[in-house]
Symmetry: C2
Subunit: 154 residues, 2 copies
DNA sequence: CTTCCTGCAAACAATTTGCAGACAG
DNA sequence: CTGTCTGCAAATTGTTTGCAGGAAG
């Protein structure tokens, strides 16, 4: 029976087609990834998965994330110092908007990036394969909290 | 006597003005940063500095890099997995063009980023403070090497 | 002189790996 | 059954820290 969640179904089908095993751990990890909108880190995924599978190990989380990345179903956002974050909803490069207070990461609308990339490729002579565009700032919610009443100013 | 390199002189003046000490290690580390165009990592800086100051330790490199970053004279490019890279020539956020073969990092010309950022800030309600834009690809030199004669195709 | 800086070694934290047993197909 | 995947623990790696001695001002 299909799970009802299109992203999850797509990945299950992909695993089957490619001959990889469909394990409860893989499903649980991807279910968390496809459900959450805030781009969790490995430890956060771990603690969620453990609620249903208490014997799961952090190594399995990392192995599964690397595996999902290798089949192109998860995008890894690397952060030296802090831990990496994972995007299972949009697994190809796209801009991110990161709140430095609450650490939330969201996906903003942003046209004109594609044309900028193409222009750069022409100018530089590089064969461009990927990119990364992260904006750091303070989200409306955190702005409100830190200075109530003047959050919209400046 | 001034060193003759404007970037280096500017930082020396800044250290003096702010009351920080001007040590040979700090000068040597910043000299490497201001001279190299390829955005070296800590270990690369370490091995260059050691040639003139054999007793220098890697801890000093890291401490000095963190210090230069804190006074806004070095930009740190974080890479989880690989090591971080440092830009001492343009110490504020700007796009980078990274060759995945030879690991060289250069600074491309790119207009229209500023207007894109401003538009995003308006749309999202975030107070944007910084950003990061990295393009990954293969540089013209490496393209030539891997497939001589058809590097310009595709 | 006094305080900040350096150098050493040990500590750290996120991630990876080796291996034996478990289980999906 | 059979080969892949999991779970455990130990290893790895880039970076940070604590502290005692050293040198900049």
């Amino acid at each position: 029976m299909p799970s009802g969640a299109p992203r999850l179904d797509k990945v299950i089908r992909k695993l089957r087609d490619l001959g990889f095993r469909i394990t409860p751990q893989r499903l649980a990890i991807f279910e968390v990834l496809s459900r959450r909108e805030d781009h969790p880190g490995a430890e956060q995924i771990y603690s969620e998965v453990k609620q249903n599978f208490p014997t799961t190990s952090i190594a399995t989380i990392y192995k599964t994330l690397a595996f999902l990345k290798s089949i192109g179903e998860v995008l890894e956002l690397e952060f030296s110092g802090d831990c990496n974050r994972y995007d299972g909803r949009i697994p190809h490069p796209h801009p991110h908007l990161i709140c430095i207070k609450c650490k939330k990461i969201v996906d903003p609308e942003l046209a004109s990036l594609a044309s900028m990339t193409e222009k750069l490729a022409r100018q530089s002579g590089y064969r461009l394969l990927s990119h990364r565009l992260d904006f750091y700032g303070i989200c409306p919610g955190c702005l409100k909290k830190e200075s109530p009443g003047e959050a919209e100013s400046r």
